[in-house]
């Protein structure tokens, strides 16, 4: 990889975007942003801008795909052509197909799929702008869309990456840190149950660094979990407050 920057972290331990090593990007979350969907949410995490919508549980077509003992989770992670510097073809890439699969498998442990046999729950994630860590932001926002759809869940799923950049362990890598750094480890967690539902990594980590990176990512997930809960409550508490003022 050709480096565009000599250093990603300066001598004051500050990253290119001004963050400290264990700091998340600014995050803004809104729940219930799309009126057609049964549940929806929107997240901005740094320059990432991602929408998620959930439809279902509903009758599954074609019927032969239906599972006799549980709901079928269908997940599509998709990037808009204008979401990245060089226009991306709108046709699903191999990367998007793999990410759709791992996101689905990250969310499924949180859903009581056994309650709704023979149905489907459709999760659509549209990346409108991407700046690294979109699978994590996508999981975070899709989990909220599931909750907003009223689908019974064991827990929310919160996701965040940690990795190694210029030899230092850092939280929540942006695109340039992901591409030019030494390792990126996305993690998804059901925070109340301490259960890991997604873990991937590419790069180069010793077993010791791995353990530290894992713990760093876990702390990131916990911070994001608090923001998720606030966003969810904000939508549903709004009604309550209006009423109580009267």
């Amino acid at each position: 990889m050709r480096k565009t920057h000599e250093k990603l972290i300066n001598e004051n331990s500050t990253r290119l975007d001004g963050r400290k090593s264990n700091q998340l990007r600014p995050i803004k979350i809104e729940v219930g942003t799309l009126s057609n969907a049964d549940g929806s949410a929107y997240i901005e995490q740094g320059k990432n801008k991602i929408l998620a919508a959930v439809y279902g549980p509903k009758e599954l077509h074609p019927k032969h795909r239906a599972l006799p003992d549980r709901a079928l989770l269908i997940c599509r992670y998709h990037m808009a052509p204008f979401s990245v510097q060089e226009r991306k073809s709108p046709a699903p890439s191999r990367r998007e197909i793999e990410i759709s699969k791992v996101i689905r498998e990250a969310l499924e442990p949180s859903v009581f799929v056994e309650y709704y046999p023979r149905t489907s729950i459709d999760i659509f994630i549209e990346v409108l702008q991407a700046d690294g860590g979109t699978r994590c932001s996508g999981i975070t926002v899709a989990s909220l869309a599931l909750a907003d759809a009223g689908i019974p869940m064991h827990d929310l799923v919160s996701a965040c990456a940690a990795g190694k950049v210029d030899g230092q362990l850092v939280l929540d890598l942006n695109d340039i840190e992901d591409k030019e750094g030494e390792a990126d480890l996305p993690l998804a967690l059901m925070p109340n149950l301490n259960a890991i539902t997604l873990i991937q990594m590419d790069g180069d980590l010793s077993i010791n660094e791995f353990e530290q990176t894992l713990n760093l990512a876990k702390e990131g997930c916990k911070q994001i979990h608090a923001l998720q809960k606030d966003a969810l409550k904000a939508k549903y508490a709004a009604v309550k407050e209006v009423v109580e003022e009267k």
């Binding site: 990889m1 050709r2 006799p68 003992d69 191999r94 990367r95 197909i97 793999e98 759709s100 699969k101 791992v102 498998e105 990250a106 499924e108 442990p109 480890l185 059901m190 149950l193 301490n194 259960a195 890991i196 539902t197 997604l198 873990i199 991937q200 990594m201 590419d202 790069g203 180069d204 980590l205 010793s206 077993i207 791995f210 353990e211 894992l214 713990n215 876990k218």
Partner: protein
Amino acid sequence: MTSSITVARVKQKRIAELISHGKRLDERGLNDFREVQLEVGVIERAEGSARVRLGKTEVMVGIKIEIGEPFSDVPNQGVLTVNAELVPLASPKFEPGPPNENAIELARVVDRGIRESKAISTEKLCIIPGKKVFIVFVDLWVLNHDGNLIDASAMAALAALLNTKIFNYEIKDDEIKIKPGYTQLPIVDHPIAVTFAKIDDNFVVDPWLVEEQVMDARFTITIDKDGKICALQKGGYGYFSMEKILEAAKIAQQKAEELRKIVVKG
């Protein structure tokens, strides 16, 4: 077809019970791989090839080398392309057609191991900077599916790469001329994938098909020749605890070393 769900439930209970006592249906220990058989250079038409049998799982890998253009952001590096096909003869569950998400995931996990460990010195595959480089096509051909396609494919890919020869060439007036003779593809690291299946709360390495059918989730750790982790992948609908993952990483380190001895001879 028999009713797969009821069979699976009975089987699952039996398998989980055995594993909680440290045993497996095929009498292996929890951290034992099945026997690995390896043949290299089995396809003369390919620049490199290998066939791996991991128990009854069988994967063929063929490497083809072509000349093409580099990516614009890395103008002096060769290109690695990994593709996997779950061909229908390998399992009643596989269907003809373009690679589905399982095939794509398999290819991308194997790709990540090779790429992230920097196993191929891609800068040595540059012919004319910015214009011509060698492209290494790694095609994973699954011939019989009895579980743990990732580890079998990763081993076969590494063995095939180690067995790959590139034709000699010279450049005259900006033209590439093929010369007689071959040069070994420069391989500088040896990534080995080690996959665990989580069944109830226990991990077993190298799950065979029956274990895969009842597992909650799987976890793949790819280890480079220095014992460092270069790729991870979780699959399936279950979840893991932090402790289990760290435990698995240490086991993977040992297992990778053992397997590497089989794949990298001499």
